[in-house]
Amino acid sequence: MQPANDSHREFESLALPLLDALYNFARWLSHDQSEAEDLVQETFTKALRGFSSFAPGTDFRAWMFRILRNTFLTSRTGLQAKLTVPLDPEEEAAAGVTWETPETLAVASATREALQQALSELPLAYREVVLLCDVEEMKYAEIAEVLSVPIGSVMSRLARGRKLLRQMLAGERPAGIRKVDGRR
């Protein structure tokens, strides 16, 4: 059946190409196939309902990812993830980055599986920012819009998240990181 009007057609033409990326992100957030599928479907429903409030010319992709992330954060898994790994405000402020070359090499030479395992164990606040930056290749401003935080926080979380990843792959287990069972 045909969409009722042009606005729905426009929504579809903008949103459907993002389906795989949104699903990938949802799956990394929730670690679960059916939960990720529900998240994506709910995101599309909410986005379509609010499409009239979406300002043309602004970033549609960031808007969709923000809806997905907010939906996830209010889900049961999302609430648990938020409770178990609170962001350290002092860590937020410390944006300085230093590079330990051996650890950096550990990431570059790690197998795909090892990287995926480390990424899935990364606390949510860092996992999401690394995914948006490195996998979705979003600009800092776009990520800031998805997460509703200042660009400075995006940069410090990225630095911290990448550092944690490097440490994990170099065989260290940074404090506060627990092993996650490889759920579906």
């Binding site: 045909q2 969409p3 579809e12 459907l16 990720a36 994506v40 429903t45 980055v97 990287l115 990448r162």
Partner: protein
């Protein structure tokens, strides 16, 4: 700028987030500074490795179909709601009441006469046309009946069998869930040369209100075939000629 200062900007350089002139300045610096150059290269490799590892999951065709269906459903619902609010805005209450009474009378007349009327069949022709006009005519795309049939499991409240088409001039294009009078059913799309044929399968209920006999309708430019078998109502709609439609009907009847 010193190496120390560049180190603080390394991440932004790798993420291409520095202003253009600083991006250029770093490239010039790295060309002469092996430390900064290798640090940047290593971070870029890290970024690339993460990108490859992070692109891990793809939406299933099932999810894609569900999302498309939800979007279409919402579009239809909204269209109806808008039409309703437009009526309330522009028409005085008495006019709406009068219109409702007229509609009710017309509806009763229709109900009383529909057993002799092919109106319901014309609605199937509408569904057929709307489907072909859609950007996504089928939700499950497959020429294999063993793929199409299981796809309907859990989506419609009955099951049906599909014929072997090898050796026949017909091909299976795919299927979708169709709704008729609030009842979910299967809509299968078959191809015959360049023509498309919709085969609707619904549970036979009194609400369906279709004349029980099989016939072709010359009132619309479409040919229609319909029959009931094992409690299921089959309706074939297409612009192919009646004889060809009959051939497909026979195939379906013998395998259903």
């Amino acid at each position: 700028m010193s190496c120390r200062e560049w180190h603080d900007r390394l991440q932004s350089y790798v993420d291409a987030a520095l202003p253009p002139q600083e991006m250029e300045a770093f490239r010039a610096h790295a060309a002469h500074c092996p430390d900064c150059g290798s640090a940047a290269l290593s971070l870029m490799e890290t970024k690339g490795a993460l990108r490859r590892a992070g692109r891990r999951y793809e939406a299933s065709s099932d999810l894609r179909a569900r999302v498309v269906a939800t979007t279409h459903q919402a579009a239809t619902d909204e269209g109806t709601a808008k039409a309703r609010s437009a009526i309330t805005l522009f028409w005085p209450r008495w006019a709406i009441t009068a219109a409702a009474v007229l509609l009710l009378a017309a509806g009763l007349f229709f109900l009383a006469n529909r057993s002799q009327h092919p109106s319901s069949l014309a609605e199937f022709a509408d569904l057929h046309v709307a489907t072909l006009a859609s950007a996504n005519p089928v939700e499950v795309v497959s020429t294999d009946r063993h793929t199409v049939k299981p796809w309907f499991q859990g989506r419609i409240p009955f099951t049906f069998d599909l014929p072997e088409l090898q050796g026949s001039p017909f091909t299976l294009v795919g299927g979708r869930v169709a709704y008729f009078h609030q009842e979910p059913g299967a809509q299968l799309i078959f191809g015959y040369q360049k023509h498309m044929i919709s085969v609707f399968i619904f549970r036979e209920t009194p609400q369906l209100g279709i004349a029980p006999a099989s016939f072709s309708d010359r009132g619309t430019s479409f040919n229609l075939q319909t029959w009931t078998q094992d409690g299921l109502r089959y309706v074939l709609v297409s612009d192919v000629n009646a004889a060809k439609l009959q051939d497909l009907a026979v195939l379906l009847q013998h395998h259903a």
